[in-house]
């Protein structure tokens, strides 16, 4: 049924004559109101905003018919109206999907230190932050796919070094690590205030694929040893 037919039907039912353009305008108003609202909109609320002399129920019924066969339906909940995606569309709209989470402040700090100071060890991260980094924070960043083991530092204990991934660059819209703004630019953008000591420096991060002079590449052995062979490594211990 076309919109035109629907309208004609409504009119026939009513037995009154309403200017069709006015009726169309009323439909547009109701539609916009329900669409923009954060919850179902009561019929009374809609009625208040319609042109005078237009019956809200007829407008809503016509709109409901208009959306009936579409990907989005207008549904009535008690005396209120709301838009819902059509029930048979659930295969595209998977509402059970996990929500996108905001990265915590701590994780952001650790991530930014890794980005700027890479290759960097956990001890160094903690030194820069001035607090201990919980294992969970690094895990989250690894899980997000933004941080990776780069290698091992040739120093006592051979600590693992961290760096960022290609996904990190993609996500943050950077072409290369050198695109990270430096000291002057951070200042210029108002992110760093003028009140910083003269010897304050922002490091230029070392590219993803270059190893630092005191860095060894990470090996399969290392990963196993660290017990961090991610999803695949469900090995019994």
């Amino acid at each position: 049924m076309t919109e035109e037919e629907e309208r004609a039907e409504v009119l026939a039912e009513e037995g009154t004559v309403v200017d069709p353009r006015r009726l169309h305008e009323a439909g547009r108003i109701a539609e916009a109101l329900v669409f923009a609202s954060a919850g179902p909109v009561s019929e009374a609320y809609i009625a208040e905003r319609l042109p005078r002399g237009v019956d809200v129920q007829h407008v809503m019924r016509a709109l409901k018919g208009f959306y009936a066969g579409r990907g989005v339906n207008l549904v009535q909940v008690d005396d209120s109206w709301a838009f819902r995606t059509a029930p048979d569309m659930s295969f595209v709209i998977r509402t059970d999907e996990t929500e996108v989470r905001k990265l915590s402040r701590a994780a952001l700090e650790v991530l930014s230190i890794i980005a700027y100071h890479q290759p960097v060890t956990r001890a160094e991260i903690e030194d820069i932050r001035g607090v201990q980094t919980s294992k969970g924070t690094l895990d989250v960043l690894m899980e997000a796919g933004w941080v990776r083991f780069r290698g091992r530092r040739r120093s006592p204990g051979r600590p693992v070094t961290f760096g960022t991934t290609r996904d990190f660059l993609d996500h943050f819209g950077l072409e290369e690590l050198r695109d990270l703004p430096g000291l002057d630019e951070l200042k210029g953008a108002g992110l760093l205030s003028g009140r910083i000591p003269a010897n304050f420096q922002v490091p230029l991060p070392l590219g993803e694929d270059e190893l630092a002079e005191d860095e060894d590449p990470i090996t399969q052995m290392d990963l196993e040893e660290l017990g961090l062979l991610a999803p695949g490594g469900h090995d019994e211990e």
Binding site: I93, R94, E97, L103, A115, I128, L186, L191, L192, I196
Partner: protein, 289 residues
């Protein structure tokens, strides 16, 4: 905005108003009118902004302004500001010097072996910069008056979660990342800086001290330095103490509690009780007769 229904319409105005006010405020805050050249640079954002404002008073298209007249106006404005001792930021003075140079270039016939830019080139470049700035201002106005999301146009109020587009389940913008980094580094940088605490005498301190002194001052002239030194144990405090004390002295003189005398430049400053020395020191610290 059409429609006359009272309430929403008012709201509409209300929402628009701040944006426009912003602009009007900017224009009104400029202490410069065509009739009386009142000098107040507070409303201007630098010399180019001032020049653009002056250029507009010529009421012609910017490509047709008289750059020479504009330079004149600007220089006159700066002169006026200096006369009434308004402290001008360096960039205003640099522009003044440049315009004075431009003026000389425009007025004095071009020398044969002169390799600097010609006056015409300089004038054109100034006119270009003004035109470009004005164009950007117009663009900004047009931009801000578009139908804006959340003001004129609205998104779905009840969104449903769709399969996330991002491969990652986490969200963070580059801005989040950079501001986290900057504030972290800054926090630590600042805590490492210890600024040596300087002992500074406030004007109030000095006044209080002087009022105490007034009671002891005889009718004879006494050197100020002499007074100050008597109360200072720490020599590093001398400069600040004398400066504040002198300012406070002037205040007391104005109030008639003190009289000052200096015989010549760099000579010691003498003070003695003024005619109203005994009258109510408002802080209880001053002794009453």
């Amino acid at each position: 905005m059409q429609a006359t229904e009272g309430k929403p319409q008012k709201k509409a105005r209300g929402a628009d108003a701040p944006m426009e006010d912003l602009w009007q405020e900017g224009a009104e805050g400029r202490g410069l009118s065509e009739e009386s050249l009142v000098v107040d640079l507070a409303g201007f954002e630098g010399p180019l902004d001032l020049l653009l404002h002056l250029a507009r008073t010529q009421k012609v298209d910017l490509t047709r302004i008289s750059v020479l007249a504009l330079a004149e106006q600007y220089l006159a404005f700066i002169d006026r500001a200096r006369k009434i001792r308004i402290e001008l930021a360096a960039d205003y003075l640099v522009m003044a010097a440049w315009l004075a140079y431009l003026k000389s270039r425009l007025l004095i016939p071009k020398q044969a072996k002169d390799d600097g830019p010609s006056g015409e080139e300089m004038a054109a470049s100034l006119a270009f910069r003004l035109k470009r700035l004005e164009a950007m201002r117009d663009a900004a106005t047009r931009l801000i008056n578009r139908n804006r999301l959340g003001r004129d146009v609205f998104a779905r109020g009840m969104p449903e979660h769709i399969v996330t587009e991002r491969r990652s389940a986490f969200e963070a913008s580059l801005y989040d990342l950079l501001s986290a980094y900057a504030s972290l580094r800054q926090r630590h940088a600042i805590t490492q800086v210890t600024i040596e605490k300087r002992n500074v005498w406030s004007l109030a301190d000095a006044r209080e001290l002087l009022q105490l002194l007034v009671g002891t001052v005889e009718d004879d002239w006494t050197a100020l330095d002499h007074f100050m030194l008597r109360y200072l144990s720490d020599p590093t405090e001398r400069t600040t103490a004398i400066a504040s004390a002198f300012a406070a002295t002037l205040e007391l003189v104005r109030e008639g509690r003190l009289e000052l005398r200096q015989d010549g430049v760099f000579q010691p400053i003498y003070l003695r009780r003024g005619p109203k020395a005994g009258e109510g020191g408002e802080e209880g610290s001053a002794p009453r007769d």
